[in-house]
């Protein structure tokens, strides 16, 4: 007979509890900070942060729309985590994916699904470098990823500036500092809304990208848990030496894992910029979307299915954050995210304490 595990030994439950705990601590910290900075407006700020996401169907549509790229960046970071790599380069892969998607859409006039494929390729190319440099030259993947984030940003700016048809100015607009609006350049490259906009009160944000992202999350879960390849990747992450001893080609797996992680981030970039509502503006600093994949992955404990929920949460408070302006800057949200990441750094300790508390309760119950 299959016996139910005791509460304290249920790893999944402990992981969820510790994530909820770090979210609560993060939110309380953020609220206290707002109270200190501007006590008079803090109430408005906090309620804007917590309720904007469900204040209207339009805003809820925005939450779903933003959660799709976040989910993919989270999947990317989580996938690399499983192989024991820290993919801080999701931002660069995301940017490269966005660039490839836009090139496909504007330069080659491809339909949206081929543009998304281009995005995957772009991200994968950018993911090769950290993996390859780690496997061949023993360069720490964190440093490589960070350097390639910067290289990507400047390279994409340089390429945009030298591809005149890509710019908005080639399609009847006056500004040359951003990519062309897809509605003018290639309406076929815009990700279809499939009637969702009617359902969401004519929200300009919503499209099927959220559902594409969920499908990808399920696919990643399948690869990690139901295939030999996924097993090998996880073995490398848990103990590289032992997996080499067992006959697994660790270097090949490191490179492959980073390529897949890159493709995931790249797809995220494609989903975000092919919605038709946003144009790529030449950036002076690295896009934050990829970095926000880190808390998404950490909150989900790198579980692909958990990523769906954690990306919804991060997207939700970000939509709330932009509604906090002008009373507070939207960066207040980043502080909350930072607290959540900080707590995730010693999540093992928190989980240990939670297990102790739960099993302690159990013993008391038995005594009583």
């Amino acid at each position: 007979m299959k016996q139910k595990k005791p509460l304290a030994e249920n790893g999944m439950l402990i992981a969820i509890l510790s994530s909820v705990l770090s979210i609560i601590v993060g939110l309380v910290f953020g609220a206290i900070l707002l109270l200190i900075l501007n006590p008079a407006k803090a109430g408005i700020g906090i309620s804007a942060m917590l309720t904007t996401g469900i204040s209207s169907l339009d805003q809820f549509g925005k939450v779903l729309y933003q959660s799709a790229p976040l989910m993919l960046c989270g999947l990317s970071v989580g996938f690399a985590f499983k192989t024991g790599l820290f993919n801080i380069g999701a931002s660069g892969q995301y940017t490269m994916g966005a660039f490839f998607a836009l090139v496909g859409a504007i330069q080659f006039q491809l339909p949206w699904f081929l543009c998304l494929l281009m995005a995957c390729i772009g991200g994968a190319i950018w993911g090769i470098f950290p993996g390859l440099f780690k496997a061949l030259f023993n360069v720490n993947e964190v440093i490589t990823s960070i350097m390639f984030n910067w290289i990507c940003m400047f390279l994409v700016n340089l390429l945009f500036a030298n591809m005149p048809t890509m710019l908005a100015s080639a399609w009847g607009a006056s500004n040359s500092d951003r990519s062309a609006a897809l509605a003018k350049a290639n309406p076929g490259a815009i990700i279809p809304k499939a009637g969702l906009d009617k359902l969401f009160g004519n929200s300009s944000w919503i499209n099927i990208s959220f559902f594409i992202a969920i499908l990808v999350a399920i696919l990643v879960w399948f690869i990690l848990n139901k295939t030999t390849f996924g097993y090998e990747l996880k073995a490398c992450g848990l103990n590289k030496d032992a997996s080499i001893y067992a006959g697994i080609n660790a270097n090949r797996n490191i490179v492959l894992s980073m390529i897949i992680a890159g493709a995931l981030s790249g797809l995220g970039g494609g989903l975000y910029y092919l919605a038709g509502t946003i144009q790529y503006v030449m950036e002076k600093s690295i896009l934050s979307m990829g970095f926000n994949g880190i808390p998404v992955a950490l909150l989900a404990n790198s579980n692909p299915i958990g990523t769906i929920f954690s990306s919804l949460f991060i997207s939700y408070i970000q939509v709330g954050g932009s509604a906090m302006q002008p009373n507070f800057s939207s960066e207040s949200i980043d502080i909350i995210i930072a607290v959540i990441i900080y707590l995730a750094a010693f999540s093992l300790l928190i989980r240990g304490i939670l297990t102790k508390i739960l099993s302690g309760n159990k013993k008391k119950e038995v005594k009583a």
Partner: protein, 328 residues
């Protein structure tokens, strides 16, 4: 000739933050803690120091005693960086946290905190903190007549108190690491903490010292960077903390080589920032947005250099691994 003087002095003023922060990273890593939070520490140091300078400017103390005020600002930068690095030290040493994730948390926190606080102090949307112009050391500081010759450009065009202090801290680092008991013990904790502990060295204490010193240097580095850029503090240090980590790896975790590496990278950074006014660079006619190309250069060069040096890198063996007394 004046252009050459400009390039040299600019290179020095950009090398100062790189070297300080890379030295900071060196202390931390030799003690066994990877300090990815240097970027965030720089931001916090620069934030506090810039507010201090602004305060001195308003109160009139600054213009009256510019270098004394500057010295105070440098100390504020160092101390605030130190306090901020305590967060990393606590997580990495006491809680045995993942050091990379902990560092990422601090890097996320610092720029957001800087924007939020700057808004709160200066008003909504005013993100830039202006730096007063009296902080520069001029000929007048030494009672010399103002001039425009080669030596004047070379020495006085970009001369700030951070430069001599950086030179001082460089020698301190070299002596401390290789000529004192403290340095030997610090390095032991990064190489083999169990062995260090078994001969009576308090590993936790040494690691705290390593991280706190790196916080001090990182904070000063943040101020030095903000001064070098010259357009005020904007809640960012432009990835210099990460570049400094690359400099540290290129410099093989050794002070003298770090000095060389930081000058090398600073030169590329200067070429990137001032490519239009340097006459001997290729013109690249027909290419638009050349500045992006030049701005990309330091990072590309970093990668190439790391590819060639990392195979034989002498990284501290125990870096990144939390020390648990039970593993002794």
């Amino acid at each position: 000739m004046n252009i050459l003087a400009n390039i040299i002095s600019l290179t020095i003023v950009f090398a100062v933050p790189l070297m300080l922060v890379a030295l900071g990273g060196m202390y931390s890593e030799h003690s066994g803690v990877i300090n990815l939070a240097l970027e965030g520490i720089m931001v916090i140091g620069a934030l506090c120091a810039c507010f201090t300078l602004q305060g001195f400017d308003r109160s009139g103390f600054g213009p009256a005693h510019p270098q004394l005020a500057m010295l105070c600002a440098i100390l504020v930068a160092g101390l605030s960086g130190m306090v901020f690095s305590l967060l990393l030290a606590f997580a990495a040493i006491n809680l045995k946290a993942d050091q990379t994730i902990g560092g990422t948390a601090l890097n996320t926190f610092a720029p957001a905190f800087a924007v939020v606080v700057t808004w709160a102090v200066q008003g909504q949307g005013l993100t830039t903190i202006q730096i007063p112009n009296w902080i520069r050391i001029t000929q007048a500081t030494f009672g010399l007549p103002a001039g425009n010759g080669f030596l004047d450009s070379l020495i006085f065009k970009y001369f700030y108190l951070t430069t001599p202090i950086a030179v001082l801290l460089f020698f301190v680092a070299w002596i401390l690491m290789y000529r004192t008991r403290f340095g030997l013990r610090l390095r032991a904790c990064g190489e083999h903490p169990q062995a260090a502990d078994s001969v009576g060295i308090n590993v936790y204490k040494m690691r705290y010292s390593g991280v706190l010193i790196s916080g001090f240097l990182g904070g000063i580095g943040g101020l030095a960077y903000t001064i070098a850029v010259g357009s005020g503090f904007n809640a960012s240090v432009g990835g210099y903390g990460f570049l400094a980590l690359a400099v540290m790896i290129f410099g093989n975790w050794k002070p003298v080589q770090i000095l060389g590496a930081s000058i090398f990278f600073a030169l590329f950074k200067v070429i990137a920032a001032y490519n239009s006014s340097i006459p001997f660079l290729p013109k690249l006619e027909g290419l638009k947005d050349k500045s992006s190309l030049y701005q990309m250069l330091p990072y590309v060069v970093t990668m190439i250099v790391l590819v060639f040096t990392s195979k034989h890198s002498q990284a501290p063996k125990a870096e990144g691994i939390p020390y648990d007394k039970g593993t002794r």
